[in-house]
Structure formats: C-alpha cells, structure tokens
C-alpha cells in the first residue's frame, strides 16, 4: 500500500464514521426519549407552549425531515436553537470550544511529559524496585476519578495553601473582550467558518482522490496536492476572517486560547494569570492520563534499548541521556504518538468532568449545564461537536503516523 492509497482509504473511512456518529446521536437524542420537548418541560407546560416550541425548533416535522435538517444544518454550521432561550447552539459552542481546546492541549502536554519521563526511567531499571514503584504509580493514576483528584488539588492548593485559584478561567476583573462582541454581531460562528469548510473540503478531497485513484494515475499525485492545498487555503482564509472579525471588536480574545491571547497582547502579567487558572485543571487531567503513556513508553523503550544501534551508540561512549532520548526514544516514539490520538477521546471525556469540577467555561461544562435544563438541542450539539473533534484529531494523527513511519505504507 502506498502512502497515497493509505491516505485515501483513511479519509474515505472517516466519512462513514462521522455519518454513523451523527445518526447515533440523532437516534439517541431525538428518537429514543419519546418527545424531547415534553422531557424538557418535565410535564409542566400547556400543550400550546409545547406546540409552539416544536414549531420554533422544527420538531413538528416528520423524523426523516428533522434528520435531514440536522445533517445539512451541520454543514452550514447550524446546530439548531437552544430549548432554553432559542439562542444559537452553534455560537454558544463556538464560544466555549477554545477553553476546552486549551485545557486539552495543556493536559496532553502534562500527561505526555510526565508519562514519557517516568516510562523511560522505568525502562532503564526494568524489574527493579524503581520500576515497580513507577508502574504502581501508573496503575494508581488510572484508578483515580479525575474529578476527585481535581477536588483534592483545589483543597490543597486553593483552600489550604491559597496559592492558586480553585476555579474559573480568568480573574474577576479580566473579562474577555472581543468574543462576545463578535457573537452579538450574529455574523460568524465557529462551525460556519471551520467545520463546514472542513467537512466540504474533506468530501471534495475524497471525491478527487477516488477519481484520481480510479482513472488518472499520473494525474493522481498532483490532484491530491492541489485539492489539499486548496482545502487548506480555504479553511485557513475563512478561519482568519472569522478571527479577524472577532478581534476587531475588542483586544483581548483573538484565538480564544487565553494563554496565546495574552502573549499576543504582549502582556506577561495576564499570561501569568491565565497560567495560574489553567494549572490545576490541566494538572488533574494530565496526571490521570499519564499512566497509559508510562506503560507504553516503558515497554517500547525496554525493547528499543536492547537493539543493536543503541548498543553501538553506547559503545561509542555517548552520554547516557543522549543515547536514551536522542537514539532510543526517537524510535520508540511512534506508538506513543498513535496512543496520543487514541487518548484524545479519553482526554475529552475527562475534560467534561474536570471542567465541571473547576467551573472551567468550556464545552464540557456547557454540556453539563444544559443537562440540568434538559436542553436536548444544546446537548445534541455539544455531543456532536465532541465527536467531530475526536474523529478529526484521530484522522490527523493517523495521517501523521503514516507520514512518519514508512512501514505502514507497505
């Protein structure tokens, strides 16, 4: 299998997976509970109110029509209206998403760094006491509920030591500006500018690729490059436009990742504050996830350290650290990269609980908030966006893996 065929199959496989995801969510949220509107009001509304909401949300149409509205709405960036206040679910999710992304990236970094370091250490002293201690640590982190660890961190660093804030994302005086203005202008939603071009692009690319694969063998490679470049440029441009239009209203929020934003502003003080708020949630999430990395790094490094090229490097008198990280780890890294892709789903699941613990205003807390209101359209939107996010990340990781590891193409 060449790299091209692999990329084609992988992208083509993503489409049915996304469709299955959309359909499952639709069946669970719209078909199973009987009538979501009645569930929302918990039998405390007049038939007229219920009927009015049905019409407002388009729930009076037959199910198949609702399904098409839902799937095609998604392509246009429309996730429906919230049952709570008829506001756009897409926009609310858009404003919550960067917070989750920031938390996820930080937690993944922490989990990766701690996990890889401890895993390497364990593999160096394989089956010795140090190795056992690290392994047990990995197993214990696996068994800790992330929200409990979060509360313990809050208790120790927030309540007792008062070093770090126990919740929230910004200091009370540091209201994020810009984002809200753009949302009020009712113009650009995240979904319209990112997800829609992404999905359309994905579809176009896959159509191109199938055509290229089937007929024009010489044309193939160029077609891939062109369509990919076209697609990347398109989504980049629309992304830049949406960011620009958001940041024009205020100064603070340009990417939605507050750490990046404060650096863009060149304000070290603000950067410090955002880090302070980010530290505990991402530490809780990162620690819980690092066990998998420890285990994988340990077993991979154990195998790699015994290969001839590592012995050769040692024999040449290189420093221990250079041999470990420069030679062995580079070769043991690929499976860890794949694991990072798989872990991402786990990470987002953990993010829902972590965000609830730390009042972190991300997608997970949005989901939990809406559960309390039984706001089915909003819940459905949040679940779908979580799913899309995971499938896109796993696609990217797989493609990266294929690019880095020539064996997968064989």
């Amino acid at each position: 299998m060449t790299l091209r065929t692999y990329v084609i199959t992988r992208i083509l496989l993503t489409i049915p997976m996304i469709l299955i995801l959309l359909t499952t969510v639709f069946i669970v949220m719209r078909v199973l509970p009987g009538d979501p509107v009645q569930m929302h009001f918990e039998k405390m509304a007049t038939p007229a109110t219920i009927e009015a909401m049905r019409v407002q949300l388009g729930l009076n149409k037959p199910l198949w029509a609702q399904y098409f509205d839902y799937v095609f709405g998604l392509f246009r960036g429309d996730l429906g209206k919230s049952m709570q206040d008829y506001s756009s679910v897409g926009q609310q999710i858009f404003s919550a998403f960067p917070a989750t992304l920031e938390l996820a990236i930080c937690a993944m970094l922490i989990a990766g760094i701690i996990g890889i370091f401890l895993g390497v250490e364990a593999s160096k002293s394989y089956n010795k006491p140090k190795d056992h201690v690290i392994r047990v640590f990995g197993i214990v982190t696996y068994a800790i509920p992330v929200f409990f660890l979060g509360m313990i961190l809050q208790l120790v660093f927030g309540v007792w030591l008062r070093w770090l804030p126990t919740g929230g994302r910004v200091a009370p005086g540091m209201n994020p500006r810009g984002l809200n203005l753009a949302l009020n202008a009712n113009s650009n939603s995240f979904v319209a500018y990112f997800v829609a071009p992404l999905l359309v692009g994905l579809l176009l690319v896959s159509v191109y690729l199938t055509a290229a694969k089937a007929k024009h063998k010489k044309f193939g490679r160029r077609a891939i490059l062109f369509s990919l470049a076209f697609f990347a440029a398109g989504s980049l441009l629309s992304g830049v436009i949406s960011w620009y239009s958001m940041s024009s209203g205020g100064i603070h929020v340009s990417t939605g990742l507050f750490t990046v934003d404060s650096l863009l502003e060149g304000n070290i003080f603000k950067f410090g504050t955002t880090i302070k708020y980010l530290l505990l949630p991402s530490l809780a999430l990162g620690l819980v996830l690092c066990g998998v990395f420890i285990r994988l790094t340990r077993s991979n490094m154990f195998d790699t350290m015994r290969l001839d090229f590592v012995t050769a490097a040692k024999a040449r008198g290189l420093k221990d650290r250079n041999v470990t990280y420069g030679y062995a780890f580079r070769n043991a890294f690929l499976p860890i990269l794949t694991m990072m892709g798989l872990e991402f789903a786990l990470l987002l699941g953990g993010a829902v609980l972590t965000e609830t613990t730390f009042s972190w205003p991300g997608l997970g807390r949005y989901l939990v908030d809406r559960i309390n209101f039984r706001d089915y359209t909003a819940i459905q939107g949040a679940v779908v966006v979580f799913g899309l996010f995971v499938s896109i990340v796993s696609l990217v990781v797989d493609l990266l893996y294929a690019y880095l590891d020539p064996r997968i193409r064989l």
């Binding site: 496989l13 049915p16 997976m17 299955i20 995801l21 499952t24 969510v25 669970v28 949220m29 199973l32 509970p33 089956n127 056992h132 197993i139 214990v140 696996y142 068994a143 800790i144 509920p145 929200f147 409990f148 509360m151 313990i152 809050q154 208790l155 309540v159 007792w160 126990t166 077993s299 154990f302 015994r306 789903a345 786990l346 987002l348 699941g349 953990g350 829902v352 609980l353 609830t356 613990t357 989901l367 939990v368 559960i371 309390n372 039984r374 819940i379 679940v383 979580f386 799913g387 995971v390 499938s391 796993s394």
Partner: protein
C-alpha cells in the same frame, strides 16, 4: 475426551492456586492477589453494611452538621448531619451493582457478537467492525451521559448506558483473537476432518479466547466503576437518598471552599481503592495469561 483436557487446562490457567501463583510469577501474581483482597474486602464490607454501620447511613441530624472527624464520628458528618463512616460503609452498593450489571451486559452482547462477526467474515464483519470502531473512538463518558440522560435514573439504566460504551472493547478483543486463532494449524486440522463450524467455534476457538475475555472484563469493572462515579458526579446518578460515594463527592464539592475536607476525601479514596482492586487484578491477569508478555519477563 479432548474437551475435558481443554477445559481442565483452561481452568488451571484462570483459577490457579493463589499461593503457588504468587511464588511462580513474581510481581504479576502479587498484583492479582493484592487486587483480589482489596476488592473482596470492599464487597464484603458493602454486603455486611446493614449490620455494621454505627448509624443509619441516610438518617439526617445524627450529629451536628459538618463535624470534623472526632471520637464519636471517626469520619465526621456531612452538611445534613449524617454520619460519614456509615455512608462510606454502605456507599459502595450502587457502584458495585451498576458495574456488575454493565459487565454482564457487555459479556452477553460483546462476546457473542465478536465471535459471530469474526466467524462470518465478509460484509457482515465489516459492518459490525465499522460500527464498533465508531463507538470505540467516541469519548466514553460523553456517550454514557447521552444515554443515561435519555434512559433516566436507576441501576439498570445506568448499567445499560455504561455497557453501550464498553461493548466495543470486548468485540474488538474477541474479533482480533479469533482472527488469529482461526489460522492456527489445529483449527485447520479440525476444519479438514469436517468438523462443523459451530463445533470449531465452541471447542477450539472459544476456550482460547476466554483468558482475554477474563482480562477485559476485570479491567472493565474498574472502568465501569469510574464511569458510574462520573455519571453520579454530573447529576445523572441515583436519587440522593441512596448512600453512594459518587453522590458524596458531588455534595462535598459544594462544601470544599469552606475547608470541609472529610466529606470528599474518604468517599473518593473508597472509589480509588475499588477501581484499583480491579485494575491490579486486570494488570496481573493480563501478564499471567498473555504468553507473549511472559517471554518478555524472562529475557
């Protein structure tokens, strides 16, 4: 005759004498025993809870609300004046029931489906694999949240929504195992002497898949407990009058800013210990039952 031999060796693999196991296999055996002791003691404590709790776990105003641990209330009281020690002793019941039922559902659906799909092959196999892979790739707790929101409260409903998340793990393990075992010479031999497909599945393939099923189910117990705790934490658990560690954590979160550490600490520790027990067992068992890793240990 042959069946007897297969069964005996299988039993000897799964339920070996625990003592000899510890001697033979070093760390892995110790892990299994440690995990088993942890789990068993928590299960026994929960089963005996009606007789050994000092107070009724859900009776309010047994003591002054939010008393710190002292001689009368070794683990303190919560904001309604309930004795935390009694709540800790009785609070594992829900989680254990949910985990048990969900693992049972997973076994009943995942194992036969995996066997069927991998034996049938072709488009049926592709179809099931695609669906299972899609579910597997999805963030588990979020899927469980969606299902339990729709299904409503209750032990069975909670177990069902957790089972949905974990069926793919069973399916995938079974499927990959069957696909590799199918190619082994002894299965081919059985095929060539004209054994029926069902016979091959039951006598030749299934016994060899069983150890992996045991490992997956043990690890899955821990996952189910953690997911159940998460669902309860989010507010999708059982009604508040049932003593439950997960509920105590939710309740304690509100009391945390005023420094009431005892409400969450012990409940959380119990969840960790229970999940840890199953994880240790799973970890040890997978090392004991997986011949490839065994070789790694001997290097």
């Amino acid at each position: 005759m042959r069946k007897d031999i297969v069964n005996k060796s299988m039993l000897a693999k799964i339920i070996p004498g625990l003592g000899s196991l510890a001697k033979r296999r070093g760390l892995a055996g110790k892990l299994v025993i440690l995990g088993a002791i942890l789990t068993a003691s928590i299960v026994v404590m929960t089963l005996l809870s009606p007789w050994i709790t000092p107070y009724s776990p859900s009776k309010i105003n047994v003591g002054i609300p939010l008393t710190a641990p002292n001689s009368q209330f070794p683990l303190g009281t919560d904001n309604l004046g309930r004795d935390m020690l009694s709540r800790i002793i009785a609070g594992g019941g829900v989680m254990l029931q949910v985990a048990l039922v969900s693992v049972a559902i997973c076994l009943l659906i995942g194992v036969p489906l995996g066997l069927f799909s991998s034996q049938t092959g072709g488009i049926v196999d592709k179809f099931f694999s695609l669906i299972m892979d899609s579910v597997y790739a999805f963030p588990g707790i979020i899927l469980a949240i969606a299902f339990s929101l729709v299904l409503g409260r209750g032990v069975i409903n909670m177990a069902l929504s957790i089972a949905v998340v974990y069926v793919p793990s069973y399916f995938r393990v079974i499927r990959s195992q069957v696909l590799s075992i199918k190619e082994l010479p002894y299965v081919e031999a059985a095929n060539s002497i004209g054994a029926k497909r069902r016979t091959i599945l039951r006598r030749y393939i299934f016994p060899n898949v069983l150890p992996s099923v045991v490992v997956v189910a043990t690890v899955n117990f821990a996952d189910a407990i953690l997911t159940a705790a998460g669902l309860t934490f989010i507010g999708l658990g059982l009604p508040a009058n049932v003593p439950d560690w997960g509920w105590d954590l939710t309740n304690g979160r509100k009391l945390l800013p005023s420094g009431n550490w005892w409400v969450i600490t012990f409940a959380g520790t119990m969840i960790i210990l229970l999940a840890l027990g199953f994880t240790l067992m799973g970890e040890g068992l997978s090392e004991l039952l997986n011949p490839r890793l065994e070789q790694g240990e001997e290097k």
